[in-house]
């Protein structure tokens, strides 16, 4: 893997955004050649999205020939609820860029047949030619997307019950009221993300440090599902200093190139 360590959140967000931007531009997307991007939600990628929007507004980056696939969506939350991932993506990304609405794919947490919705999503990814770059985050419990501890490392897009850690972490978005937090979600599987040609995981903040340690310095383990990416040929972890707090000094020095 690559472990890229930046001094702070803003620099990490910028680095990640530049990387995505360059990948898209180098790919030279066009009418018959779409760049496929997997996308996360949450507070970690906000800075990255802001930067991407800035590059777009500067005229440096167009999403006209980009297809996006989001990782997850809550089940049972109305699509226009302010905390749905549809709302998040619209407000924080889609409304500011020139992506074709037909190319922005997000799982529908209100579909009548949830598993069919998941299967259809996998099919859409396949029809798009697979994902070129899947951007993701890590939960405090080491999960990727909503692949909670105990999820199969070869799982596909499916319905998952959320872990208590996740529900607690999400409560702040629902007026601190646990009863209002959704308990189920549709999510891409670990296997789904592993299929991507390239994976970039964004990890910032001291509260994610332990999860990062478990993910890259311990073994591959379904209790820390991000650890699966140790077996992916092309993964980059982009972090700030705080996220590295639980790593060995040796690991950090190695990846900073200081020896």
């Amino acid at each position: 893997m690559r472990l890229v360590i930046l001094d702070n959140y803003d620099l990490a967000s910028e680095w990640a955004a530049k990387y995505i931007c360059n990948r898209i531009i180098q790919f030279k997307p066009g009418q018959d050649r779409y760049f496929t991007l997997g996308l996360p939600t949450g507070s970690t990628p906000l800075g990255c999205y802001k930067k991407l929007i800035e590059y777009h507004k500067n005229g440096d980056l167009s999403f006209k020939y980009v297809k996006t696939f989001n990782m997850d969506e809550y089940v049972g939350l109305p699509r226009n609820h302010p905390e749905s991932y549809h709302s998040y993506m619209w407000n924080n990304f889609f409304k500011h860029i020139d992506i074709d609405p037909n190319n922005a794919h997000i799982l529908d947490g209100n579909a009548t047949d949830l598993q069919a919705e998941c299967d259809a999503f996998e099919k859409k990814i396949e029809e798009a030619g697979g994902i070129d770059l899947f951007v993701g985050g890590i939960g405090p419990d080491g999960h990727i997307a909503f692949n909670e501890p105990g999820s199969s490392l070869v799982s596909r897009t499916r319905l998952k019950t959320l872990a208590m850690d996740t529900i607690l972490a999400n409560a702040k978005y629902f007026d601190g009221d646990l009863s209002k937090v959704p308990t189920m979600a549709l999510t891409v599987g670990v296997g789904t993300v592993m299929d991507a040609r390239e994976v970039m995981i964004l990890i910032t903040g001291a509260h994610k440090a332990f999860a990062l340690y478990k993910a890259i310095e311990e073994g591959v383990n379904h209790m820390w599902t991000v650890s699966a990416f140790q077996q992916h040929p092309r993964t980059i972890f982009v972090c700030d200093e705080d996220a590295t707090l639980e790593l060995r000094v040796k690991t950090v020095k190695y990846f900073k190139g200081e020896h």
């Binding site: 699509r79 549809h86 074709d100 609405p101 922005a104």
Partner: protein
């Protein structure tokens, strides 16, 4: 997306690079329009999977709902209370010229007049939507003749009336028809007023108390019987007294029926109300404040002698008096100027100043689902304003109907 012929009704226009008034705040958001209504772009993106057909750059300006004037007696030489054969043309002329002031809807106001004038004029004023031809007519505001003698102001004494004999029937006989009437101003201390108020409001017409010497108790009773507005607060009513606040006391009355609120008109032209009084009223009940012009035919014409109903009026700068007296007689300050004056005099937020001329009058008339806001689904009547709240462009049903010549787009 393959190119497609887009009809006018389905054409989607996105106004970008602007701040819009929504949810009581100025947000950095785009405004989307389709079919003359405000569109929800998120719904459009996810459900219809469509983008805008056209984008218009608003150069960083403010987009606010179109202004609504619920008390205007005429303008540009037109006097709504004059019994002309072609009242419609007069209304149309005023409606067209109001667009430059950012007004997209208004209530033509008739001052105290004899019954034959009401019978002649009222049938010629129809409620209608605005368009490129002019601002929309929301309905007539009948100010008088059932008002106080003492507080008649510029209203002609000889045509004042009471409804002692026949109550509501008296009212109906006087006006002829209430078909296109939106507001009636009356004095609640007149005998049998409460039953009249009940009857009027049961027909969906707003009742306003004004030109009255009623005490607070009587005014509260009027509100309990259905009155929801005060005509030009402070003017033509008893002054505030600490043991009997009179009509002014309605602003902080605890006798207002639950779930209802009292609105009050204020003429913020710098003449009718001292800035300190404006501030007191605003602070006492900010959500009820409705900016009105009470404009007279001389609006837009400059100094000189003009008419208002049966009276002669002398205009000097912003001051209009009954000829030969010091009695104030309406105003010539356009509504956008009132918004700016209100903003400076009270030091309130831009949002509050704008809502006093948009949301509040719409709420008064019960039309806030279509007018007075930029909420999704409401009519796309809006104004483009610079940071000093000068009108740069006016839109009705999503169509540009007036533009400042210096604007680029």
């Amino acid at each position: 997306m393959p190119p497609q012929k887009v009809g006018a009704e389905t054409r989607i226009v996105q106004f970008t690079n602007c701040r819009i008034l929504r949810g009581h705040t100025l947000l950095r958001e785009d405004l989307w329009i389709r079919g003359g209504r405000i569109l929800d772009p998120e719904k459009l993106f996810f459900e219809e999977k469509r983008s805008a057909d056209e984008q218009r750059d608003c150069e960083g300006h403010i987009l606010a709902p179109g202004f609504i004037d619920v008390q205007i007696n005429g303008g540009f030489g037109v006097d709504f209370s004059l019994p002309s054969e072609d009242v419609g043309s007069g209304i149309a002329l005023v409606a067209k010229n109001l667009l430059a002031y950012g007004v997209t809807s208004f209530c033509p106001t008739l001052v105290t007049s004899p019954p034959d004038i009401y019978h002649k004029v009222l049938p010629q004023i129809i409620v209608r939507n605005g368009s490129s031809q002019g601002a929309g007519v929301l309905g007539v505001h009948l100010e008088g003749p059932f008002i106080s003698h003492e507080k008649r102001g510029a209203h002609p004494e000889s045509h004042l009336r009471t409804f002692e004999t026949d109550a509501f029937q008296e009212l109906l006989k006087t006006y002829g028809s209430l078909d296109n009437v939106a507001i009636i101003t009356l004095a609640p201390e007149l005998r049998r007023s409460y039953e009249v108020i009940r009857e009027i409001t049961s027909r969906g017409i707003c009742v306003s108390v004004g030109h009255s010497v009623s005490h607070l108790r009587e005014a509260e009773e009027a509100v309990q019987n259905g009155a929801t507005f005060i005509t030009h607060l402070f003017n033509a009513m008893l002054p505030f007294h600490h043991r009997d606040p009179g009509i002014v006391g309605l602003l902080t009355s605890d006798q207002i029926p639950p779930g209802r609120q009292v609105f009050f008109g204020m003429i913020a032209d710098g003449i009718h109300t001292n800035p300190a009084a404006l501030r007191i009223a605003h602070r006492a009940h900010p959500k009820g404040l409705v900016l009105v012009t009470d404009a007279i035919p001389a609006l837009g014409l400059g100094n000189g002698r003009h008419t208002l109903g049966q009276q002669d009026v002398e205009v000097d700068g912003l001051t209009c008096c009954v000829a030969g007296t010091k009695t104030l007689c309406g105003s010539v300050a356009p509504l956008d100027a009132c918004v700016r004056h209100f903003l400076h005099a009270t030091g309130c937020s831009v949002e509050m100043a704008l809502e006093a001329a948009t949301l509040h009058p719409a709420q008064l008339l019960g039309i806030e689902k279509q007018k007075g806001t930029l909420d999704f689904g409401s009519d796309a009547d809006f104004v483009v304003l610079d940071d000093s709240l000068n009108v740069k462009a006016t839109y009705i049903a999503g169509e540009l109907v007036w533009q400042d010549k210096t604007l680029s787009h």
